[in-house]
């Protein structure tokens, strides 16, 4: 394995640099040693319950620009997903 791709949502409290640090520590002496952990922090995506508009949350504001109200359904934001790995044959 040469690389591991992880995606984390904007609402998780996962800090990419911290995750990389511990990945490096924990993989020492294992078959994953030396592989790169690539963390993609994804924006929190929501959908307005009133008008259906989808938007990204910026600066923790969940207010819909069209409706002026923070009445939204969370689409993504809380996830931590192992997306893919890269392997050498």
């Amino acid at each position: 394995v040469t690389a591991v791709h992880v995606a984390v949502g904007g609402l998780t409290h996962v800090e990419p640099e911290n995750l990389k640090f511990w990945y490096e520590e924990l993989t020492k002496g294992t078959r994953l040693a030396g592989s790169a952990l690539l963390v993609e922090k994804r924006p929190t995506q929501v959908q307005c319950r009133k008008c259906g508009r989808e938007f990204s949350v910026v600066a923790n504001s969940f207010v819909c620009a069209a409706c002026g109200v923070a009445d939204v359904r969370l689409a993504t934001g809380g996830e931590v997903i192992l997306e893919s790995i890269e392997v050498e044959e």
């Binding site: 992880v6 609402l11 998780t12 409290h13 923790n60 504001s61 969940f62 207010v63 109200v69 923070a70 009445d71 969370l74 809380g78 996830e79 931590v80 997903i81 192992l82 997306e83 893919s84 790995i85 890269e86 392997v87 050498e88 044959e89």
Partner: protein, 229 residues
């Protein structure tokens, strides 16, 4: 070669939370997860309102603390069963510990389960423990700026208990700041402004809890039967 996986790294936790939710649905038990800072008055809120709630509902508390049985002792003094989880340092109650604790709770004779989480505004907010609702408990001495500093909790919460309102004047708490920030994070979140110490405002909170119980377990409709059929 790139191998696509798409594995949810929190799947195990989510599975446990889902099984707890199914169990509580079967047993018709309403579970409220109280989350707030150390000292915000989570235990005090329970102490102040359990005597009224137990007039119509049978209540059980799961108490989460890093160390000591101090909070659990206070809850037991109110007369309701309390299951203590000492996490030994872990900053929140994970779903597996809740599932374990529930094995020792007599769910058949319980209407309402309070889960008092470890005092912390951060980690407990990210953990689904199978509860029906998360309750954000905030107290005035913590400041009026906390909603946007800890947005996840207020996004996840189904209501806010604003405790220690009897101190509003001396603390110069900007109530309008709190409400403006809440409006930015979640529309329509009920806020119960109360003082667990003086009892002011507690009636509205109790009514809200009873309303949820009525929906989930059909009670209180009559005086508690104590044991469900």
């Amino acid at each position: 070669v790139k191998v696509k996986l798409g594995i949810d790294l929190d799947a195990a936790g989510k599975d446990i939370a889902a099984s707890i939710r199914a169990l509580l649905a079967r047993e018709r038990v309403l579970a409220l997860n109280l989350i707030g800072s150390p000292g915000c008055g989570k235990t005090a809120l329970l102490e102040a309102t359990i005597p009224e709630l137990t007039k119509t509902l049978s209540v059980v508390v799961i108490e989460g603390d890093i160390a000591t049985s101090r909070d659990a002792d206070r809850i037991r003094a109110t007369g309701v069963p309390c299951h203590l989880i000492n996490t030994g340092g872990t900053c929140h109650l994970p779903p597996n510990l809740i599932a374990q604790a529930l094995q020792e709770v007599d769910l058949a004779s319980t209407d309402l389960l309070f889960i008092e989480n470890v005092g912390n505004l951060v980690c407990p907010s990210t953990q689904d423990v199978g509860e029906d609702a998360k309750v954000a408990v905030l107290s005035l001495p913590e400041g009026d700026d906390k909603v946007l500093k800890y947005p996840r909790l207020f996004r996840e919460a189904s209501c806010v208990v604003l405790n220690k309102v009897d101190l509003a004047e001396v603390l110069r708490f900007r109530r309008e700041q709190l409400f403006a920030d809440l409006a930015q994070v979640k529309h329509g979140l009920p806020v119960f402004e109360l003082s667990a110490l003086t009892g002011v405002g507690c009636a509205e909170w109790i009514e809200w809890v009873r309303g949820l119980c009525r929906k989930k377990c059909g009670r209180p409709s009559a005086p508690s039967r104590r044991r469900k059929v």
